[in-house]
Symmetry: C2
DNA sequence: TTGCCTATTGGTCATGCATCCAATAGCGTT
DNA sequence: AACGCTATTGGATGCATGACCAATAGGCAA
């Protein structure tokens, strides 16, 4: 009997394999951070050799950007579905705020924080971040605009209102890695209150709906049972190496 | 003549050297990012051997935390001086907002973004971030409280108002690494407007003062002439190694 | 069934980093 | 002026990462 079982290789279609890789990377991004997306790490998770990953993503940064885009995109879909019942603007918005709370959303906050910082060093990621930012902004803007058409919202400018709401959400989200237990309600509910003001809703009306939605659905996808801590990484800089400066090779 | 000049060593007092190291690290943190604070990098900048740095900071993470604390502390002092003329609450607040804009403040936003993200992996840094966060919050709270005593501000709760203002500033700050050129005034001035609301000021009054302050002092410490780009670092994770697991050595 | 295309493997290489350590040389003290 | 303390040097180690490549084997097509 051979020392170690002769590793039998599974051969998948490029599309399937690529999708598998991106999906795995997206999960890592969401639960452990973009810095943890490494050729070796993804390969290990998929029980595959590192070389395979770099075969699909010759440049690591590309995979990171792809992972972020996928994760952020899927989260957007879950938080603010593109498809929604007609005349449901108010309820949809309340649902969005309800879902934008709790540990479930913390992962998302952490991811955005992560991506926005890393964008400083990774152009490709920065581009993806810009795209997702626009996507979130546009979808919220659309919701507000449709709500205005329905007669429930009365924003001066839907686009501006959307940005204001997102800015507040971002401001609250930056503390995802910090203690927020002693936050007063006037702070916790800032996003909702901002929305009420920007949309000309009677104070407290939206907040009531949000609270109701929160109690109705304790947590959509079940509370994250502690993602997968694994030993975290400090993150050491690596001057963006181009494939060339690793030695031209003979 | 010897190949390379026999490096003459300068011997400084531990306090002086340590201060020198921290100062340098703080500058790097502010201009290039916390990930760029590396034993080698700091040593190079100070024309000293890496070993010296690790002599003063056996664990790298400690230096990073120290650098952040110093940088953030000094910035706070510049943006919201502890000492200020009596009865100047309104003007002081306006000055704070005026200084909290433009490229000068972008470095600070980037640093906070950086620190908050890195806190996810570095406990020591996280602790420092919490301390600085409290410092900023407390100083702003004090300013608001004193302004209330002076009769110029009318906050329901100074502490809450302070947090709300900071949350908005944070929300605006997360885009420090992104394009913000197409931001409407209603967004750019969100922090000021939030302050006016939270402090019961007549709409636009504070904003006028801020604009005046902006024009008066184009930029405190002169516009940063493009920090020191140096080749940026992607940032590769390193499972936090304890000094022990590097091999006990015989 | 045979054969070819290519997905996948199994390493190699160079680089960057933190940590550790023995030897050296400033500089204040005696 | 000689001494001793310790700040500083000069390497050595070990680890992790991304990039690169020739050889192998999986499975669809002929």
């Amino acid at each position: 009997m051979p020392p170690s079982a002769p590793p039998k290789r599974v051969r998948k279609s490029p599309e399937a394999r690529r999708a598998e890789i991106v999906a795995r990377a997206a999960t890592i991004a969401l639960t452990e951070g973009l810095e943890c997306i490494t050729m070796r790490r993804v390969a290990d998770d998929l029980a595959v050799r590192p070389g395979l990953i770099s075969h699909y993503f010759p440049v690591a940064e590309e995979l990171v950007a792809e992972a972020f885009g996928t994760a952020a995109g899927e989260e957007l879909e879950e938080l603010m579905p593109a498809e929604r019942p007609a005349g449901s603007a108010l309820v949809s918005l309340a649902g969005f705020f309800a879902r934008s709370t709790g540990p479930r959303y913390d992962d998302m906050s952490r991811l955005w924080l992560n991506a926005r910082h890393l964008s400083r060093f990774r152009p490709v990621l920065a581009e993806r971040v810009a795209v997702q930012e626009a996507a979130w902004r546009d979808r919220l803007t659309r919701l507000l605009r449709e709500g205005a058409a329905e007669g429930t919202f009365h924003p001066e400018d839907p686009a501006v209102a959307a940005i204001q709401i997102l800015v507040v959400l971002d401001g609250l989200g930056v503390h995802a890695n910090t203690d927020r237990s002693d936050r007063p309600p006037a702070v916790t509910n800032m996003a909702v209150i901002t929305a009420e003001r920007a949309l000309g809703l009677t104070p407290g009306s939206l907040l009531d709906l949000v609270d109701a939605a929160r109690n109705a659905a304790p947590t959509p996808t079940a509370a994250t049972p502690t993602p997968a801590p694994r030993t975290p990484p400090p993150t050491a800089p690596t001057t963006a190496r181009t494939p060339a400066d690793t030695a031209p090779t003979a």
